[in-house]
Structures are given as structure tokens and as C-alpha cells.
Amino acid sequence: MLAVEILGLEKIYTTGFWRNKPKVGLKSLHLEIPQGEVFGFLGPNGAGKTTTLKLLMGLISPTAGTARILNQPWRDLAVRARIGFLPEQPYFYDHLTPSELLDYYGTLSGVSGADRRLRIPKLLERVGLAEQERTQLRKFSKGMLQRVGIAQAVLHEPEVVFFDEPMSGLDPVGRREVRDFIQSLNREGKTVFFSTHILADAEALCHRVAVLNKGELRGVSVVADLVSRNRSRFEVVWQGASAIPAMQAFGETHVAGEVARMVVSESQLQAALGTLKSQSAKLISVNPVGGSLEEYFLQKLGEPVEATR
């Protein structure tokens, strides 16, 4: 079954007080996300990621198009009990403590009192806020608010979770924890749809990614395919200027002082390493070239394509 089915959602904002000027927020978007997938929604700032999520959450109305979530109309209130949402840079009622906030949201999502009493302490423990259970949110840091945001998004055990820039503003440890959390959600069978402009996060977490730019879908791809495609290139770094003339047969060499580096294909790797050995150069490192998703991302930003399913 499809978790999310976007059927031509489109948003055109009107700006200006007297003469309204149309501004495209999202061009007709078609997208299908099966259940159990971690789906990354990539794009630079202003690409239309948040607009898409706001449309799916019913916070703004589309100019055209429709969507289905878990095989139900997306604006159906019943479907909202089965989804979770973390807004970008979340801000919550700062007069409440995390427990009170989660109790409030739990009530709104239809979670029974007994379940709320059971789940809230466990969830606060899971997101590392058990000790701050009775501290008002006005005293929380940005990272702590993000944890509260994640907790409120999954409190009612939704089947599909939407995260808008979940790692934004977090330190490396916080990012690692959110990554682990998303992976654990996926292991529990939940579908995760998250927007980000941090490509390393998308590469580490997603089954598939979509690239969006200027409100237009530029492409959808399976991350594993992109990674395996690019793992066929390696960066070789060595010390020893004497090997440079011989190594230039494999490609362009970049030299910085005593250290030189170059990128070779998988078929050239063994020959290049043999050349370094024969020239008595000191091998420093051989690494597969990362940034496969980055290349795909940059390529897609440059070329407009038809809406892709």
C-alpha cells in the first residue's frame, strides 16, 4: 500500500497588496511513497519542501491537485490520527513542561489517558529528556526543543511521520541521535518522509530521494543505486613528487607541497597503485569517492525535468 500519494499538488501564492503578483510555491507535483520507506525530500532553501509539507498537513490550501495518505483523502481528519509531523524549527507553548505538552498533544490525537501516562515517560527517556520532565520549555535550548518536537510527532504511534528539516540547528551529536531515531522508527515499520538540505543525512538514511528546486520536482532516485554507481571511483593520495609524471597517465594530478592526489576509476586502481610502488612513492590513503548524492543533486538542480513518479 502507498503511504503517501501526491497527485498534482500545486501552490501559487499571491503577493502584493494592490496588484497581486503570482509566485509559484510548488509546481504540479506527482509523487508516490510506499509504506515502510524512508524518503528524503531534497532541495535548496526556497525549493518548495516546506510548502509541500504544509500542503500535506492541511496548513495551506492547494491551488490545484490532491493527495492521499494511507489510502485516504489527505484532508480527512481521521487520517491525521495516523500521521505525525515535526515542523521546521519547532516552537511549542513555552509555559508548559515537556510532559504537559505531550499530554496535551496526546489528548488532541485521541490517545487515552492510560496510554498517555504509560507512553510519555518512556518517550521522554527515549529522546533524552527524562531529567527535564518538569522544566518549562522556555528554558530549553534549540536542540532540546527539537527532541520535544520529535517526541510529539511519534507520541500517538503514527504510521507515517513527516519531518521538516529534523537535523537543522543540531550539533553533530544531536544529528547522530536524530539519525538513529529515524532508523529505529523505520525498523518499527513506520514510513518516514523528511525534508533536508543536508545531503549526508539523506544518503545515510533514505531509501529514495526526490530533488526539488524552484517549486519543481527535478528527479527521484534510489539512493543505493547512486551510491553503488559512484563507488566505482577512488581518490588516491601519496607522498613523493617523483611519481607524478608516471601517475599523470591515469588522469589529472593535484599537488600540494609533498602530497599529491588524483581520482581514478576502479579499473585503473590496481595499475595506479602498482605505479606508485614502482616509483617508491609513499601511499597515504585510498578512499572511495563520496558525494554521489551530491553529484546527483547538483546535476538535477541544473536540469528541469518533467514531473517524475
Binding site: G58, P87, Y93, H95, T107, G149, A153
Partner: protein, 258 residues
């Protein structure tokens, strides 16, 4: 649906309490204490009239200020701070949200007005050392003041559903001032002819009839309040509040949350 509205109302009440909205009760108490020496200088009959006028006017002013300034921020603050997003992404209708916020502020004002009324009666007892039937009559004036708050909160919510907080405050305040002169407007509408007459009649229907909700002078002079007026004001307030809240829900339901 009821449990969701109740949860939103309780959260609104809790927010008002924790944001120290009820601190105005302290000012009310200070006002009563501060006027005590003044009242001691005049005769007992005039003292009573003065205390009733002063206390009920204070209840009215504090309540109106809270109704307008908290009322206009009920929705706009949630939009501005984006606290609304995690609420409306749940199975919560926009109408339920508006109704919950309205009931929450109404609850706050109920507690506020009740506490001030208790304070007023204690001051009255201390001064007159007696409790008469006409003293109980004052409760009707307090009830009418509360009805006034019901109307003003509805208007504040309505204005804030489509305009900025500043404009909403301005509109709500204008309606309050115009509403206190509703009786004059109606008298003018009855006399005027032509376009002015039509305009005045239309305005007299739109502007809330707050004049009929103000019986402070009457109760302070021991004049009785007819039961028919209590019934009329209750019905009028219910209809007016329903109209304003329905308008707010209608506008807010179509609004994009930027």
C-alpha cells in the same frame, strides 16, 4: 470533539494563568484598599453607591482589557509562533480550535470576574455590616458584565482571524466604544430618514448593544432589574457571540498559515 475543545480551552486557561494575566486581581485588591480611606470620609449611603460603582467599573475595565488584548492574540500569537502547526496537523478541526480558544479565555474571565466579585462583596460587607436583597441584585450587573466580555472576546477573535493584532485591537476597541453608545445610535436610527437612516439602522444591528448590558448605576441606586431584560440580554449575547464565532471559524478555515 468535546475532549479536544476541552483540551484546547484548558491549555488556553493555563497559558493565561502562567502568563500572569490574573495578576490584575492584585491591582483590583489594591484599588479597593486604596479607596477605603476616601470612603470613610463620606456618609454610609453614598459610600455604598460609590463602592458599587467603583468596583463594578473596575471589573468591567479589567475584563474588557483582557477580552480585547488577550482575545486578539489568541489566534495571531499561535500563527506567529507557529505553535499552531503541531495542533492542526492532528485530528483537530479549525472550528474546534477557535471554539477551544474562545472557551479558554471565557473560563479565564469567569475565574477573574468571580474572584473580583468575591472581593467586592467582602469589601461591601465590611463597610455596611449587612446583606440586603438589593445587594444580591448586584450579581445581575456582574452577570451582564460577563455577557459583555462574551461579546467582546467574540469580536476580538473575529477581527484577529483576518487582520493584524494592532488593527484587531483597534477594531475591537472601536466596537466596544461604539457599543456603549448603542442606545443613542438606535434612537438616531429611529429618527433619521433616507440613506442616513438606512446606514444608522444597519450599524445598530452590527454594533453590539452594550448599553443594555450596563446596569451599574441602576443597581447602585437599588433599582430592580426586570427578568425580561435578563432574558433578552442572555439571548442577544448568545446570538451575537454565535455570529462572531461563526464568522471567525469561516474566515480562519480558509486561511493559509504562512
Amino acid at each position: 470533539m468535546i475532549s479536544r475543545i476541552r483540551a484546547i480551552a484548558f491549555n488556553t486557561f493555563r497559558e493565561a494563568v502562567r502568563d500572569r494575566v490574573l495578576y490584575n486581581l492584585v491591582f483590583f485588591a489594591l484599588l479597593l484598599v486604596a479607596t477605603a480611606p476616601l470612603l470613610g470620609e463620606i456618609s454610609i449611603g453614598v459610600q455604598r453607591v460609590l463602592l458599587i460603582n467603583l468596583s463594578l467599573s473596575a471589573i468591567s475595565i479589567f475584563g474588557i482589557v483582557i477580552s480585547i488584548f488577550v482575545g486578539i492574540s489568541l489566534v495571531s500569537k499561535e500563527i506567529e509562533k507557529r505553535t499552531l502547526y503541531p495542533v492542526l496537523s492532528r485530528p483537530v478541526g479549525r472550528g474546534e480550535f477557535i471554539l477551544g480558544k474562545y472557551c479558554g479565555l471565557l473560563g479565564t474571565l469567569l475565574v477573574n470576574t468571580a474572584a473580583m466579585t468575591v472581593g467586592f462583596y467582602i469589601a461591601l460587607m465590611l463597610m455596611t455590616r449587612d446583606f440586603t436583597h438589593s445587594d444580591a441584585n448586584i450579581l445581575i450587573a456582574v452577570y451582564f458584565l460577563f455577557l459583555e466580555f462574551v461579546v467582546i472576546i467574540g469580536l476580538s477573535l473575529l477581527f484577529s482571524s483576518f487582520s493584524s493584532p494592532l488593527l484587531s485591537a483597534l477594531f475591537a476597541l472601536s466596537m466596544f466604544v461604539a457599543g456603549t453608545f448603542a442606545a443613542d445610535l438606535r434612537a438616531f436610527a429611529a429618527m433619521a430618514h433616507g440613506p442616513e437612516g438606512w446606514l444608522a439602522r444597519a450599524a445598530s444591528y452590527v454594533i453590539p448593544n452594550l448599553a443594555s448590558l450596563n446596569v451599574i448605576t441602576r443597581v447602585s441606586h437599588d433599582q430592580s432589574i426586570p427578568a425580561a431584560l435578563v432574558g433578552y440580554n442572555t439571548l442577544y449575547t448568545a446570538l451575537y457571540a454565535t455570529a462572531t464565532i461563526s464568522g471567525a471559524v469561516l474566515i480562519f478555515s480558509r486561511r493559509d498559515l504562512k
